[in-house]
């Protein structure tokens, strides 16, 4: 059964409020309706004309998902009602390849987040996700010339079925966790990136995500393969309007860093305050390869995200640099997982968290050094900044070292802004809120300087907005 148009969502457009950003009237072409079943999954797969192995995979994942309980650790998921979520909405009938072909509402939406402007300036490629599907993508000729593939995951599956089949779910199997299983059964959109041997993509590949329907989960699936000696920087930035119902974002990202290749993956996450953000991200690094996760979590009601790196090849290097901000009623449960499997591998985790107005930040990390990974080294530092007495920070670092010839360094600090220092800044003519802002900028600076300029400006601006929302 196919239901067309948005009537089934029985909600007049433009009645929901949002704080920043915007939301456009929905003009959905197709939706599976709320809730999940075998039938919904079959519908999704049929609509996408997927090969049968993918449908089988989705169904297996769904069975696993049903058999698993909601995790009782991490964030509070009691208010997450999985039966009230719409798992698939098609926003436009066909993929469009040029800006002019996009529907007016979607164009307006993107205008406000500045996609075309950013593109004009210096984007190498844009793949923007509107609701559950990528409707707009543009790649500069250069990328094509170099043989770089940068498209949405659905197109990737259609155009490069062999590559996708070879890599898909080999790093994050559906059995990894309940939400990876959920993503595996209903995934839609996300990016597929392939960088050929020796190719350096000098400008970051960027994808914009936007959720635009109430209680609508977004389940993008991203697969990045960086072949030997290649380099790519992928940037994922999320913003979303605020809705009245709870929303879910549950993504899976898999990255393969081949010998001597380097991948940097930057996220600026600013989901609205009703979104559960439950994401599984994992990278595998071969000999002398480098993987860098730069992860900034500002938004959402609750986030659980622990970007992982498997250092599989000799002398591979991995880094996870993260910033978390939690304001009122927010809980960021984030961290990193690093597995040193091969000799002479090295890793660095730098985590910075800021809690304000009763917000809670948790660092949950694990570093494992396997027997035989001799000469490996791991460096972990987590700093928490509390802006007031009612906010909270927790640190759960775990280290499992099975190799004697390894070096580990761990440090953790929790600090509060001293009243005396704030007063000093005030006595120089700076408002308290701006003084806190100065502090925070300084606190996160080691990570911010790794982010491209336009994103770091955005990040600082978002933090300022967040801070002012919760009062001084």
């Amino acid at each position: 059964m196919q239901i067309y148009n948005s009537a089934m969502l029985n909600k007049p457009p433009n009645t929901f409020r949002y704080r920043y950003g915007f939301s456009m009237p929905e003009k959905n072409v197709y939706s599976t309706g709320v809730g999940l079943s075998d039938k919904v999954i079959r519908d999704i797969s049929r609509l996408k004309n997927e090969p049968s192995w993918m449908l089988d995979y989705r169904l297996q994942a769904y069975a696993f998902f049903c058999s698993k309980k909601i995790p009782d650790w991490g964030v509070n998921l009691k208010n997450l009602d999985l039966d009230r979520i719409t798992y698939f909405i098609r926003a436009t009938q066909n993929q469009t390849s040029s800006w002019e072909d996009l529907p007016k509402e979607i164009k307006q939406t993107y205008d406000r987040i500045g996609v075309p402007e950013a593109e004009r300036k210096f984007l190498a490629g844009v793949s923007a996700q509107y609701e559950s599907e990528v409707v707009y993508e543009s790649m500069q000729k250069e990328l094509k010339k170099k043989g770089v593939v940068f498209c949405d995951m659905d197109s990737g599956l259609r155009q490069y079925p062999e590559i996708v089949k070879a890599y898909f779910a080999t790093l994050v199997p559906f059995s990894d966790n309940k939400f990876a299983a959920l993503n595996s059964s209903v995934w839609s959109g996300g990016s597929f990136v392939y960088i050929p041997k020796g190719v350096h993509v000098n400008m970051p590949l960027q994808a914009y995500f936007r959720m635009n329907a109430p209680a609508f989960g977004q389940f993008e699936r991203t697969l990045i393969i960086a072949d030997e000696g290649s380099f790519v920087h992928y940037i994922e930035g999320c913003t979303a309007p605020v809705y009245t119902k709870d929303s879910l974002h549950s993504a899976v990202v898999e990255i393969f860093v081949q010998k001597n290749a380097r991948v940097r993956y930057t996220t600026v996450q600013n989901w609205s305050k009703n979104v559960f953000n439950l994401v599984t991200k994992r990278a595998q690094v071969q000999e002398k390869g480098i993987m860098e996760w730069i992860d900034c979590n500002l938004g959402s009601k609750a986030t659980m995200k622990y970007p992982a790196i498997y250092l599989k090849g000799k002398s591979a290097h991995g880094e996870v640099l993260s910033i978390a901000y939690s304001g009122k009623n927010q809980h960021q449960d984030a961290g990193a997982k690093i597995f040193h499997i091969a000799p002479h591998t090295s890793s660095r985790i730098v985590s910075k968290s800021i809690s304000k107005s009763g917000g809670r930040c948790t660092y949950r990390g694990s570093v494992s050094i396997a027997r035989g990974a001799e000469g490996s080294s791991a460096f972990v530092t987590c700093d928490a900044l509390l802006l007031d007495g009612k906010s909270r920070s927790d640190t759960y670092p775990r280290m499992r070292i099975r190799e004697k010839q390894a070096r580990i360094h761990h440090e953790a600090t929790t600090s509060k802004i001293k009243d005396q220092e704030l007063l000093y800044l005030q006595q120089r003519g700076i408002k308290k809120i701006d003084a806190e802002g100065l502090y925070i900028n300084g606190f996160i600076e080691p990570i911010v300087k790794e982010i491209p300029l336009e994103y770091s400006i955005e990040l600082n601006r978002l933090l300022q907005v967040e801070m002012s929302h919760h009062g001084g």
Partner: protein, 236 residues
């Protein structure tokens, strides 16, 4: 001009300042002296609006004609009152440029702030690397005092209070500091706060105020300084 009327101040119900009245005029230099614990720093912090200090009923602070008794610290600073701290804190993650850029936002653009810092740092013999690092991070007492002066020079206040600018500072730095203040004080009000009588070697005040037990015990000209040098504060 800064006018203090019947000012009594307490911290957590403990009375520190008692019924102080005085006027600080433009283009004049004042010396506020007194033994340790007499209330000098509390006085400076009260003028700067430290929220831990409560001004008792009837006490008033006027900046020109404006009653600032209950103004926020940042409002006072924006009006043109500057306090050079006795023990300036070190700030992690914040450079003097970032601080001054925010303090002067809407008044000066980032480039003029940067240029002003470079210019004043040269006059104060502050090395570039100290400007670039986080404010007072790993700095000595003397270096911190110079950074206070640098901020004053860039902020261009109308009233400057120097709380113990002469402590923790070596002779060379003292000379630099006071040469700087002496050229900078024109058309401003300067108030030095110290317990150290040696300061008279470097400045000539228009008026000397002696504070004891939270009150102004004596006011006079520079001529009372030699007396203090001989007899101390005890007999005043």
């Amino acid at each position: 001009m800064l006018e203090i009327k019947s000012l009594s101040v307490s911290i957590k119900n403990k009375r520190i300042l008692k019924n102080i009245s005085c006027i600080f005029k433009v283009n004049k230099t004042y010396l506020l002296m007194g033994p340790n614990g007499s209330g000098k720093t509390t006085f400076a912090q009260t003028i700067m609006g430290n929220p831990e200090l409560s001004v008792q009923k009837g006490g008033k602070i006027f900046f020109g004609k404006k009653d600032i008794t209950f103004a926020q610290p940042e409002e006072r600073a924006q009006m043109g009152i500057f306090l050079s701290h006795q023990s300036p804190p070190s700030l992690s993650g914040i450079t003097v440029f970032q601080l001054l850029r925010v303090a002067l936002s809407g008044k000066k653009d980032a480039l003029s702030v940067k240029n002003a810092i470079t210019k004043q740092a040269k006059l104060l013999n502050i090395p570039d690397k100290m400007i670039d690092r986080y404010l007072n991070d790993g700095s000595s007492g003397g270096e911190r005092k110079k950074m206070e002066l640098l901020q004053a020079a860039v902020l261009e206040p109308k009233i400057m209070l120097f709380d113990e600018i002469d402590t923790g500072v070596d002779v060379d730095a003292m000379k630099t500091i006071f040469r700087f203040i002496n050229t900078y004080k024109r058309n401003r009000t300067v108030i030095f706060i110290t317990h150290n009588n040696n300061i008279q070697k470097y400045i000539l005040p228009n008026e000397v105020l002696i504070m004891k037990n939270g009150s102004i015990a004596k006011k006079g000209g520079a001529d009372i300084l030699p007396i203090i040098g001989k007899q101390g504060f005890a007999n005043l």
